[in-house]
């Protein structure tokens, strides 16, 4: 069967195409529209998926949307009614939002694609998350936990999945927590309180948490209390999901924690307020870990399963993931490359294939590279037009390793675009990991971001344990950069650019089979420096999505402090005059 999965309308929309039970294409709309976290209907992504497979919409057997709009409308309307009359400001906005387009998504999809409405199906949001986590993972049977802000009603689910020998698959959600009791919304409210953008700044809270101590943990526990059945409930006195949709925290929250940080205020960790914000971040992180580990542990005891598949936006919290793996009793933890809403496009398509239409299970290739391929000849042409030296190199890996060892920063474009928020070696900026000055240079000249945010390392699987304290099953968790683990103390000074203030790193453990060229580059770099580890950060500038095409990589290269741009076998070196201009601008 040919099934198109779609996610969209809230944040980070995407499309994915499954043919014969196996994904053939998946891409986030933002990578094509170049609007970060693009939430619009993913027409560009759909067109690309169909073009890639040389299909027309008529060839599709089904199109699956990642959530049920009527159920979502039910939740929104019920919330408004329960909040009456305080919800009077948000009601018109919410209704315009839902009634304008979102409620009629089946008709919208049918009309946009020119297909019959009967071909369009909707499945529940957390079923999509569960499918994205379990059906992709190389495991036959696993416990499943999904957690995010909110889907239709569910905010967190616990269940199991099985792929049987007769080819059938099953995803059984045993229980769920419902809005407004949400781990994701709790963390988002803290994100907003700390002055970061919700659905984008959660990484920053995690990074900031390492600079603080959980001195506010007892206060945090007032916000989120455990229930007798092992779940939790938010104390709604501290939240305002109806009146303050963008922030979600109430005046009582402010009374408890003090004045919030304004988005334009810099975080000065030397100041009293800066340290208070770091401590609050640390406390929220500690509580989130405590809760999610408890839920995962209870599920393990109940099911006795060795594997856990984790989905939903909360699964992007690498620190919590590491704690789950160490403390919840599982041997392996699977987090897909796109555990958030974008990944639901693929999850929805696979769910429809395996469960809605009962197709036999097929092994899904264990990599995240489902997007467009770069055209390296375009780089040769553009560089030549601009009079910038470009070369086709037969010893490219060795040349790039030399450059990295000489502290050059490399823009690396190779193969199909990653699906998900992490750059996993196909659209990466690479640099030597040894020196803290490199981290500062990247922050200053390239990423233009807060200094408290760490950079991630990539290491070949065979050397990972030498440098990083991976728990049992940690290499699997780190396959898609989903876990934050301690750097071994004896290596922290030699890995200063990728070691966070608390001695940890969000490492990518690379198997040669998944990305042989990057693996070869790591080995070549290791031969020169004795450390086969590179700093690997996403190929984008602040406020922009990760690059897709070679032209986008080139324009990024021209605008920041990257020294070398590599696409396939083509290498472009930045002339001194352009480098001087960029440094002048930065100054």
């Amino acid at each position: 069967m040919k099934i198109l999965g779609i996610s969209g309308h809230y944040h980070d929309s995407a499309a994915a195409l499954v043919i014969g039970g196996v994904p053939v294409a998946a891409v986030q709309e933002e990578r094509l529209s170049r609007k970060k976290n693009d939430a619009s209907f993913p027409l560009g992504a759909i067109e690309w998926c169909l073009d890639h497979a040389r299909l027309s919409p008529d060839d599709l057997d089904a199109v699956v949307f990642y959530e049920k709009p009527t159920l979502k409308f039910d939740r929104v309307l019920t919330g408004m009614l329960q909040g009456w009359p305080k919800s009077w400001r948000s009601y018109p906005k919410a209704m315009k939002n839902m009634l304008g387009e979102k409620l009629w998504v089946r008709g919208l999809i049918a009309s946009q694609l020119g297909i019959a409405t009967r071909k369009v199906h909707c499945i529940e949001h957390h079923q999509s998350h569960a499918a994205a986590a379990f059906l992709i993972a190389p495991t036959q049977e696993a416990a499943i936990v999904t957690a995010d802000g909110v889907g239709e009603w569910a905010t967190l689910t616990a269940g199991t999945g099985a792929k049987r020998s007769d080819g059938s698959s099953e995803i059984r959600l045993l229980r769920e927590l419902r809005f407004p009791h949400s781990l994701g919304l709790f963390y988002s409210a803290v994100t907003a309180y700390l002055g970061f953008t919700v659905n984008e700044g959660e990484y920053k809270v995690m990074g900031l948490a390492s600079y603080g101590r959980p001195t506010w943990l007892n206060a945090m526990r007032k916000l989120l209390r455990p229930t007798a059945d092992g779940a939790f409930a938010l104390d709604l006195k501290y939240f305002d999901f109806l009146g303050k949709v963008e922030s979600g925290y109430s005046e009582a929250f402010i009374a408890l924690f003090g004045p919030p940080r304004r988005s334009w205020q810099p975080i000065d960790l030397e100041s009293v307020d800066g340290q208070r914000f770091a401590d609050i971040a640390a406390s929220a992180q500690a509580l989130l870990e405590e809760v999610i580990v408890g839920i995962a542990r209870d599920l393990q005891r109940e099911t006795g399963l060795d594997d856990l598949c984790l989905g939903g936006g909360v699964a992007l919290n690498g620190v919590a993931n590491d704690r789950i793996l160490r403390n919840a009793g599982y041997r392996r933890l699977f987090v897909p490359s796109a555990p958030g809403d974008a990944g639901c496009a693929l999850g929805a398509a696979l769910y429809a294939d395996r469960i809605l239409f009962g197709q036999p299970h097929k092994t899904v290739p264990d990599h995240p590279f489902w997007g467009p391929q770069p055209d390296e000849s375009a780089l040769l042409r553009i560089a030549e037009e601009d009079g910038i030296p470009a070369s086709l190199s037969i010893s490219l890996i060795e040349d790039v390793a030399d450059a990295l060892a000489a502290n050059k920063i490399v823009g690396w474009v190779d193969g199909a675009l990653e699906f998900g928020p992490r750059a996993l070696g196909h659209r990466s900026i690479l640099a030597a990991p040894h020196d803290a000055a490199m981290r500062d240079r990247l922050n200053r000249d390239i990423k233009y971001r807060e200094e408290f945010r760490p950079f991630a390392p990539v290491v070949p699987a065979e050397h990972a344990s030498l440098f990083f304290d991976l728990p049992a099953g940690g290499a699997r968790l780190a396959r898609f950069m989903s876990g934050v683990v301690p750097v071994r103390p004896e290596w922290r000074t030699r890995l200063a650019a990728v070691t966070h203030v608390d001695g940890t790193a969000r490492v990518q453990v690379l198997e040669k089979k998944m990305e042989p060229r990057l693996h070869a580059l790591l080995e070549a770099f290791g031969r020169r420096t004795g450390v086969p580890v590179l700093l690997n950060t996403s190929f984008n500038l602040a406020g922009e999505p990760i690059v897709n095409t070679v032209a986008e990589a080139y324009s990024t290269f021209r605008r920041c402090g990257i020294d070398l741009l590599v696409a396939g076998n083509v290498c472009v070196t930045k002339p001194r005059v352009i480098r001087a201009q960029i440094l002048e601008n930065v100054a």
């Binding site: 170049r34 049920k68 159920l71 039910d74 939740r75 019920t78 408004m80 009614l81 329960q82 009456w84 009359p85 009077w88 009601y91 018109p92 906005k93 209704m95 315009k96 529940e124 009603w153 569910a154 689910t157 269940g159 959600l173 045993l174 229980r175 769920e176 927590l177 419902r178 009791h181 229930t227 007798a228 059945d229 092992g230 779940a231 409930a233 304004r262 334009w264 553009i382 037009e385 601009d386 406020g543 922009e544 095409t549 032209a551 986008e552 080139y554 324009s555 021209r558 605008r559 601008n585």
Partner: protein
């Protein structure tokens, strides 16, 4: 440099540039003069507007980068990248000044109805860069830069004794002038016989987009009013039922499945 001298320095439209639309803009500017004074006199509102401008300039810079990535013309690519760098710098300057003002005055400054009358730059105003021709985009950019230059010159004259903000506008105006010049020169290069026609076409599109913005805003206000009426007239009995139902909810796990609130 005082307000008068800034007026003297205000960029002129290049020949065949903003032309008639420029005169229309001047007329509107004169009519709206008291509104501009009202908006820019208050430091809180001023800070918020500057931070808004920062966001718009940053977005405009990203649009220009996109234009550079999509054009097949190497000269335009280089120009767009330089222009994008300027916009990013302007964004930083607006942001720094906005933040500085924010630290001097308490409070956020409420958004007012008059805000839309102080627009600042609109960048490419939602054009789909993937389908625009180079000449269309250049004409659009030229008019956009001209309008922004007029607006910024006007704001610089009404910021009162805030010399730092005035100097900021003056510095940005200098760049806007250069942007107007290069977009016009490039337009004449890529469409030597038809540059005027492209400019008039762009002018019509800008008018159409202004109408769409106005119509959308008006429709939004009308829909908001109707929904608010509905909220207070129709919803109370359902709200009572929903609240009564909420009282029966118990915290903790629930059975999965399609149900609403328990």
């Amino acid at each position: 440099m005082g307000a008068q001298s800034l007026q003297d320095d205000a960029p002129r439209s290049p020949a065949g540039g903003a032309g008639g639309a420029g005169h229309l803009g001047d007329l509107f500017g004169m009519i709206l003069w008291p509104v501009h004074r009202f908006i820019w006199a208050d430091p809180r509102r001023r800070a918020r507007k500057l931070l808004e401008f920062a966001a718009v300039e940053a977005a405009g810079g990203r649009d220009l980068v996109r234009a550079a990535e999509l054009t097949g013309d190497p000269e335009l690519r280089a120009r767009y990248l330089v222009h994008a760098r300027d916009e990013a710098r302007h964004a930083d300057m607006f942001q720094a000044r906005g933040r500085a003002l924010r630290t001097q005055v308490a409070g956020e400054g409420k958004e007012g109805l008059a805000d839309w009358m102080a627009p600042g730059e609109r960048g490419i105003d939602g054009l789909d860069l993937r389908v625009e021709k180079d000449a269309d985009l250049l004409a659009f950019l030229h008019l956009s830069e001209s309008a922004a230059a007029r607006d910024f010159a006007r704001y610089a004259r009404v910021v009162g004794d805030d010399a730092a903000t005035r100097i900021l506008f003056q510095r940005i105006l200098h760049d806007e002038d250069e942007h107007k010049r290069y977009t016009h020169a490039q337009l004449r290069r890529v469409a030597p016989q038809r540059s005027r026609r492209f400019l008039w076409w762009a002018r019509m599109r800008r008018l159409w987009k202004a109408y769409l913005r106005f119509a959308t805003a008006l429709a939004g206000v009308m829909a908001g009013a109707i929904l608010t009426l509905q909220y207070f007239l129709l919803l109370p009995p359902f709200a009572w039922l929903a609240k009564r139902n909420r009282g029966r909810e118990r915290p903790g796990w629930d059975e999965p499945g399609e149900g609403g609130a328990r």
